[in-house]
Symmetry: C2
Subunit: 315 residues, 2 copies
């Protein structure tokens, strides 16, 4: 892939990490950091000045993990819990008490984190649905590519899709894309009543026209090629400010979204990071397979988002 | 109502009738003209040079009606039929034989005409669904107002609505509105997933963006007031090239469309005419309650449409 355009361009992830330099670390509850990958991720994010970790988990297991990786936990706050479910519940409570500005998933299932976050009585719901946004650094694409929702909402309905789009736009703003171009994906670029995602894509565009979704430039339905290739869009005769230049790809459902994101990571050499938005605070949902860069950039995204919100008086 | 703006403006119906002056009459099968209103309507349209009638019905009943109204049928072609169903079938067959350019409903039910027209084997189907368009001359509105579909399609689905819109645009072109402004109506102007017509309105706009609907400027959803009042549109902060200036109102279903049209006729003093489009030829569907002006203008609309199609090589 040495000869493909953009392959040796500056990494957008490096730029995001650099953008965090002047910012204070955000206080982050690390939920159940009881395996080496999650504790290393949290401590490296601290060392880079991205987060101030508050470790939530059984103290003996956290200390055993620290010993295993040779880490010194002096000065790191630990909030004791009994087990992984309890860690999630306590971390969410720390948010509600105003003691932490973000959550980072450790050695537990995503479901455990999310079920604590979505609890109607004790969770972190806002007026917006929670959704996940992948941020990808794709070698053959000239800028960061946000993909949503590839992790949380399985078959989102139209109202949920509106929130998914708004969440992704908020993250795009936080990483410095002032008017993100949002491509609502389907299999085709025309409205075809038998493919409901084409109709919903059109509805999302009109919601933006009417101010029900703000801060982005929407178009859809667009097929994947129309969304990211100006040439493909031109070949189809699509007149659009978004086609070929998307910052955000909105998948019709989780299956398609997940496959797009994984394909870019595994076959197109993309680096990835990601966040859950729409909760009171951002949630870093890294998975066991994620490397250090992915964990660091997810923390950087959370830090950029929190400071963007603080700057706008939203936190 | 003497003081309302536009009340004494030149009638748009007069203008439409004047526009037909240079045009040859169109050969029109008059289906079952066996009562005075329908036979008078056909003969008056002939006298104005709008149509050349071909009367399709039982000859004895047609002659009896002529005697009743004191009309002379010398030189008028009569195609004999046995009863009203047979009249409809024979009139439709005349279209398929290329012998007539339009149909005019006489003394029979709309259902009888339409069931002959929609017959899959022997009818007048095109690639487009048939739909009805009312053309209203509303004293308090500055231009003709087309309303669709208030007569044929009860609960149209999205594909049918696309055809309804395209049919209305075609008629607008024929009466000289080069780029008609099409308002897709709903109860509100925002996209609200629980009101499917708002979602479908958005989808229709995107179909226009993608060239699936052509020749008009679409916006919707729009509430009735936003569609026809610039002030109401401004008050809602709606940014739209259509709002307040609609040429065509597209109703979400037949119930709403019919009530809008009837309200304008009965309480807002509107004159009305109408056509069915989407069949091989235009169908004039006047009802028993229609006066002479309504019947004449419906014939003028058909004549304008046929000549517009002839000019474009479509007939």
């Amino acid at each position: 892939m040495e000869d493909v355009p953009g392959h040796n361009r500056p990494s957008s992830f490096d730029a995001m990490l650099a953008a965090t330099t002047p910012l204070d670390p955000i206080v982050t509850a690390v939920i159940h950091p009881c395996d080496s990958a999650s504790l290393i991720g949290a401590l490296e994010a601290r060392d880079k000045g991205l987060i101030t970790p508050v470790l939530v988990g059984p103290p003996d297991r956290i200390h055993a993990t620290a010993t295993e990786i040779g880490a010194d936990l002096t000065g790191v706050e630990i909030i004791p819990s009994k087990h992984s479910h309890d860690s999630a519940a306590r971390a969410v409570a720390l948010v509600r008490e105003g003691r932490v500005q973000a959550l980072m998933k450790g050695a537990l299932h995503t479901d455990e984190v999310m079920s604590a976050a979505v609890d109607k009585a004790t969770g972190l719901r806002t007026e917006r649905r929670m959704s996940h946004v992948f941020v990808l650094d794709v070698p053959r694409y000239s800028k960061p590519l946000l993909i949503t929702d590839a992790a949380i909402n399985i078959y989102p309905d139209l109202q949920c899709k509106a929130d998914i789009v708004q969440n992704a736009i908020e993250l795009a703003h936080a990483i410095g894309v002032d008017l993100p171009k949002v491509a609502i994906l389907s299999a085709i670029e025309t409205v075809y009543p038998k493919i409901p995602s084409t109709v919903e894509a059109a509805a999302l565009c009109k919601m933006a026209d009417r101010g029900q979704i703000t801060g982005g430039l929407l178009d859809g339905p667009l097929a994947f090629d129309n969304a990211i290739s100006t040439r493909a869009a031109k070949a189809k005769g699509i007149i659009s400010d978004v086609a070929g230049e998307a910052d955000i790809l909105v998948a019709p459902d989780l299956e398609a979204g997940n496959m797009i994101a994984k394909q870019l990571m595994y076959l197109a050499g993309a680096d990835s990071a990601g966040l859950v938005l729409g909760a009171r605070v951002p949630i870093m949902l890294t998975s066991r397979a994620d490397g250090t860069l992915s964990r660091l950039v997810s923390a950087a995204l959370a830090q950029l988002l929190v400071h963007d919100r603080l700057g706008k008086g939203l936190m």
